[in-house]
């Protein structure tokens, strides 16, 4: 009969061989996904540059060019969900005067690349063009927590977490028990942050008011308005609940109400 020690050694060796191959898969997956059509990207950039060139003298033509550029960047989103594409599209929309859509696109870029200085600067510029009648809604607990680790991108955190866990595994194999626990704890912690990001990615609650709209106390035109004035376009809010044709939003800590679904752009 095979001794347990022999069985363990054989299984461990087999596991290392299989898992070492699997370790390469993320890199393969990342390198093969989200390829951007360089020609289409250049055309979108060219439209944007043309808009900038004619902005001062022919504002109407420039606006058309910016809208064309935004549309071209939007078509690139079919193949790549990169923050940069959302950001470039947002720039084109903002230059075209579509401030609400631009803010939604900036927020989408910010979700994918938190803490990026360019995105934050242009988002601030877009926000400065909006008249707010309420305070901006406070971020939720999850979002505040995510901001703690957001300066390090999820891909970087994933790779570091994997390396730490491989290090802990190596330590365990070599009998370095003192190194195993901290390496494993750090690796698992980083992996947990990535898991939280990945699981919450599809559950954005951010939204932007697309056009001037009346905030109502219920999901119907018959309900009384919450505010005496309509919410201006570009107002940021958080989605609480959705019902057919209507969305309940929180515009600030105290201002909560319902907007028509078509008056709101939900950030994806």
């Amino acid at each position: 009969m095979r001794r347990p020690a022999t069985t363990f050694a054989v299984l461990t060796a087999l596991g290392i061989a299989v898992l070492a191959i699997q370790f390469l898969l993320p890199l393969i997956a990342w390198s093969g996904r989200g390829k951007i059509d360089a020609g289409a990207f250049d055309r979108a950039e060219a439209s944007y540059a043309a808009g900038l060139a004619m902005r001062a003298e022919r504002p109407d033509d420039a606006r058309a060019k910016f809208l064309e550029s935004a549309s071209q960047f939007e078509s690139l989103l079919a193949t790549s969900d990169a923050a940069g594409i959302h950001f470039n599209r947002a720039n084109a929309l903002l230059e075209a005067g579509r401030t609400s859509e631009a803010i939604a696109a900036y927020l989408a870029a910010e979700r994918r690349l938190p803490g990026d200085a360019s995105i934050e600067a242009n988002l601030a510029e877009a926000r400065s063009r909006v008249v707010r009648v309420t305070d901006r809604p406070e971020p939720g607990i999850l979002e505040r927590t995510q901001r703690l680790w957001s300066p390090i991108g999820p891909a970087t955190r994933t790779i570091v977490a994997a390396l730490l866990l491989w290090g802990a595994a190596l330590g365990a194999a070599l009998g370095l028990r003192r190194a195993v626990v901290p390496l494993a704890a750090l690796g698992l912690g980083l992996a947990a942050t990535c898991a939280v990001d990945a699981l919450s990615a599809g559950e954005s609650t951010a939204a932007v008011v697309a056009r001037e709209a009346v905030l109502r106390k219920g999901n119907g035109e018959g309900f009384e308005p919450v505010l005496a004035e309509p919410l201006p376009a570009g107002t940021e809010c958080r989605v609480i609940e959705a019902r057919p044709g209507w969305i309940e939003v929180r515009c600030s800590a105290k201002v909560i109400g319902w907007l028509r679904e078509d008056a709101v752009i939900q950030v994806r």
């Binding site: 347990p4 898992l19 997956a29 989200g34 994918r112 999820p154 491989w166 802990a168 595994a169 194999a173």
Partner: protein, 602 residues
């Protein structure tokens, strides 16, 4: 009745000729004209239809010009096709209908020339026709006027333009019926009328299933029904307003008749009418440009009467920090055009020259009720600044006929020194006033450039699957390395225990099958019981066995039976009766079937 030989020959020939004639008729190309009326009034359009049959690819129609007639082709064309099958022969007929409008410009008798088309090198033409044109004597039947409220309006001001259509009330003395305003409006020919800039307003009324309101008014001692169509007016240039091509046409009643309709209801209907049409007169509408005399330099086109309110946030800032000014310009006159209203240009106001950096770009504004709200960022360039100076907004007040300037209240401001270090070019402690400043001056506003393709390509997009692929393998290996040896040991222990039980059971069976002594049977049973409760077999006594079986959770009956059998085997050693081997087997089988806390492995 049987056919004669002659008939049997003639009938097929006649049928064939008839089919041929039909098919030829179906394939013959032709062009014809249909006229709605050969009598018309000056400026009254006459509809003409040109029908082209069986000519798929043709050029035209063409028609020469006629002095005194304006002939214009109506947009679109109608296409029809029909397929006929006679005796299995399929023929297809194609018809194209094209509409024209002929508008006589003077009275007289005109000959409208032939409409011609070119088809496969051949020219096909309609017949010319005559058109008798007389002057429409509208007289006092209908009149139209365009009025403006206010009647004198300035560029930049907002007002209302109203098209008033006055139709003389009609009374049929014979029937003693006077048409009401709804009936009279139904006689206005919507399709033949053109509405110019009032078209959208009328379209909106129609979409709401409404019609222009009509009121009875006495004009020159004659009773009229006056219909009014209003639209907002926001003039952008001085001079008479461009109202577009407005012409109102209606069928004015000449005689009514009473009769039964298809549902046998007694109804009054129009027995005779005459078309009348009018173009509206502009009733003393004057659009003026604000005077140049006394115009302030800061005036940027505002006309009306305004109130200015300014709010700043934050008001406790460091040098260079942005301060958002919210400028609310409220129209108190109720006549200002707010859409085109521009914000006061702070960069041109001297009070902001010192102490503030102001963007030269015009601030975007939002109309809210009778106010327009602008937001603009300014930055204090010195900590000596203590107030945001009053903002001036100049406007032309049309009621007073002069320019006025509204000023906001100064707003208190606290400016702290900036924490940004000032680099001195000469490296001296005190800045040299003659040396150029080395302090960067940031410009407010503007966008940061797009991401390049290379930057985007470097961006890693993480999917949950990526995370799983990256994390699960090392984590699984780590768990395996940490827990694997212990697990294997546990499995190994389990195997040994099972093996020991099997071996003890075999030894017991052997002793039961052979005519072994009671002592051997007692020893092998105790060895089995020791294996069953994972106890050391050496020195394992009856008392130990009973205690461990109870501790392991075996059933009380089984334990009692075990104790009785062990006692009997013990007595048999000293000459007592040995227990039946079947009873021992039965007990062991029962213990084998039992899963306990300590004896999980069987």
């Amino acid at each position: 009745m049987p056919m004669s030989i002659r008939d049997s020959i003639l009938v097929p020939i006649a049928t064939a000729m008839l089919a041929l004639a039909c098919s030829l008729a179906a394939w013959a190309q032709s062009v014809s004209v249909q006229v709605s009326s050969q009598t018309a009034y000056v400026d009254e359009p006459v509809r003409v239809g040109v029908t082209i049959e069986n000519a798929r690819d043709f050029e035209g129609p063409f028609i020469g010009e006629v002095d005194g007639l304006e002939i214009r082709r109506l947009p679109g064309e109608q296409n029809f096709s029909s397929t006929t099958r006679i005796n299995g022969r399929i023929t297809e007929k194609v018809t194209v209908g094209i509409g024209y409008e002929i508008i006589p410009k003077r009275a007289g008798t005109f000959v409208v020339p032939a409409f011609t088309i070119q088809h496969e090198g051949k020219e096909l033409a309609t017949k010319p026709f005559r058109l008798e044109v007389t002057v429409s004597e509208v007289g006092d039947l209908m009149r139209a006027t365009v009025r403006c409220n206010p009647s004198t309006i300035y560029v930049g001001q907002a007002g209302t333009l109203a098209l008033e259509i006055a139709v003389k009330r009609y009374r049929d003395d014979r029937l003693g019926i006077t048409l009401d305003e709804a009936s009279l409006w139904s006689l206005v020919n919507d399709d033949a009328s053109t509405w110019g800039m009032f078209g959208p307003a009328l379209q909106k009324l129609r979409s709401e299933n409404r019609r222009p309101r009509g009121e009875i008014r006495m004009i020159d001692d004659v009773e009229y029904v006056v219909y009014t169509i209003e639209r907002p007016f926001d003039p952008i240039a001085a001079g008479p307003p461009a109202i577009g091509d407005v012409r109102v046409r209606m069928e004015y009643p000449l005689r009514l008749t009473r009769g039964n309709d298809v549902f046998f209801e007694n109804r009054v209907s129009l027995a005779e009418s005459r078309p009348v049409s009018v173009r509206p007169l502009l009733d003393d509408v004057t659009v003026l440009a604000p005077p140049e005399g006394g115009r302030p330099a800061s005036w940027n086109g505002a006309v009306g009467r305004f109130k200015l309110d300014v709010a700043a946030k934050p008001v406790d800032v460091a040098v260079g920090d942005p301060i958002t000014l919210t400028i609310r310009i409220t129209d108190t006159s109720g006549t200002a055009g707010l859409e085109g209203l521009q914000a006061p240009t702070l960069a041109d106001q001297r009070t902001f020259d010192e102490g503030f950096r102001v963007s030269k770009e015009a601030a975007a504004g939002v109309v809210e009720g009778r106010a327009k709200i602008f937001t603009q960022s300014i930055r204090a360039t010195s900590d000596a600044v203590t107030t945001i100076p009053p903002i001036e907004f100049s406007f032309f007040d049309p009621s007073a006929g002069e320019y006025r300037t509204a000023r906001s209240e100064p707003l208190p401001l606290r400016v702290r020194p900036s924490s940004v270090a000032r680099a001195n070019i000469d490296g001296a402690d005190e800045p040299d006033s003659a040396a150029p400043s080395a302090v960067a001056s940031p410009v407010a506003g503007g966008l940061v450039a797009n991401f390049s393709l290379a930057e985007i390509a470097r961006e890693r997009v993480l999917a949950p699957l990526d995370l799983a692929i990256a994390i699960v393998p090392p984590l699984a290996l780590l768990v395996w390395l940490a827990a694997g040896p212990a697990l294997l040991r546990s499995l190994s222990r389990g195997d040994a225990a099972k093996r020991r039980i099997r071996e003890a059971r075999s030894a017991l069976e052997r002793s039961l099958e052979s005519d072994g002594s009671s002592e051997a049977r007692e020893r092998t049973l105790l060895a089995y019981l020791a294996a069953r409760v994972h106890a050391d077999g050496a020195g394992f006594s009856r008392g130990d066995a009973i205690d461990r079986l109870r501790a392991a959770g075996f059933a009380g009956d089984d334990v009692a039976r075990c104790e009785r059998l062990l006692r009997e085997l013990e007595r048999a050693r000293y000459g007592g009766a040995a227990p039946d081997p079947g009873a021992i087997r039965e007990l062991v089988d029962q213990l084998d079937r039992t899963t306990t806390v300590a004896g999980g492995a069987r």
